[in-house]
Symmetry: C2
Subunit: 201 residues, 2 copies
DNA sequence: CTGTAAGTGGACGCCCGCGTCCGTTTGGCT
DNA sequence: AGCCAAACGGACGCGGGCGTCCACTTACAG
């Protein structure tokens, strides 16, 4: 297990490469077989390395989750918490817009994927801290809760345009609208927030 | 064709009833066969009345589209265009939150469904007029375009919560955030809007 | 160079959805 | 009451995904 044979390692790499690409462009609703086919590999080989779709997905998105974490950590380091908060929204939305599967993976309940959900939890915790500071500085509306960010990330995932470029452009505008919505000074009180549970598969 | 035999009419009614229910709760990704099964009808009977899924879907959602139109027409009649605009967002979001399939149907390109797409076009035109008045009255941000509303409706469709009630609650909060975002007086200029084409099937 | 464990992918059996055909049933008109 | 077109639904052949098994191949250690 520690050391894969060189050919096995090559296949594993190719599978992950293909999976990342196809998940990004088509979303997670791609059959295991389709991934195997595109990687020019037999179904058995795919299943040997990744016994379940969950295993494949979480491995494939480890990189994206890392990028997400980087974005958030950098934003948290911003001395202006509101600017950091806005950066998080813009960058994270773009990340999700460029990778259709990532939102689905991010929102999915993967009981076995400890690293993945640990990372998600930490990212959300970092954002919560940043939000608290932005609230205290008076720039973020006081009734903001982290669930609101989860909600708009889910919502952002619902936006589909004709091309990847158009999706990114739409998400950019959506992010700007989200920033406007979250800025302090809103005139209407918000209805109660809702906890959004992770969804099975 | 003009007059169906009574038993055929009963079956047609039951199919539509079942389809509306299952599309509302499960979304459009339900097989024709599953609809037939739940309606206690053979596949052939279903296909005889509704040769394609498109035919079934558009018939099933005629009612919802009518409700949508009613909401919009009532809101357009409001002497205060901004209040009318807000009402549209709140009511339409709730309609979509209560019926998972409706957003998908609303956003789908159904080339054969003349009534359906005509209604959608008219609804959007009504909203565009309302928005123009709300913009002129100075309550709606000047850079708002109808595509923004389409975008947030799509986005609203991405929100999934544990139960129907939770979904509706989440949509309600999301609608309030959308209202905040669209209100005049936003401090940041928005990135360019994007036309969101209807999606095939 | 060679033995062997690791690795491979084609093939299998299963289930499910698709759209259609056709032998049987039945509503409704005369 | 009797007829027949309308309506029914079970069954079919096709394609595709699922996870697994196994006979063949190959990397690499000795």
């Amino acid at each position: 297990m520690t050391h894969l044979r060189s050919d096995a390692q090559d296949n594993r790499d190719k599978i992950l490469e293909v999976a990342r690409e196809v998940f990004a462009t088509e979303g997670l609703d791609v059959s295991m077989r389709e991934v195997a086919r595109r990687a020019q590999v037999g179904p058995a080989t795919l299943y040997r390395r990744f016994p379940t779709k969950e295993a494949l997905v979480t491995q494939a998105f480890e990189e994206q989750m890392g990028a997400c974490r980087d974005v958030v950590e950098e934003a948290v380091a911003d001395p202006d918490p509101w600017r950091g908060f806005c950066t998080v929204i813009e960058k994270v939305f773009e990340l999700h817009a460029r990778d259709r599967g990532f939102t689905a993976a991010f929102m999915s309940a993967y009981p076995k994927a400890l690293d993945f959900s640990k990372n998600r939890g930490e990212v959300l915790a970092l954002i919560a801290g940043l939000a608290a500071r932005a609230r205290e500085s008076g720039d973020l509306r006081p009734d903001f809760v982290v669930e609101d960010l989860v909600m708009v990330i889910m919502a952002n995932g619902g936006i589909r345009a004709g091309s990847p470029a158009a999706s990114v452009a739409a998400s950019r505008r959506f992010a700007a609208l989200a920033v406007e919505a979250f800025r302090a000074g809103g005139r209407a009180p918000l209805p109660p927030a809702v906890r959004l549970p992770l969804m099975p598969v």
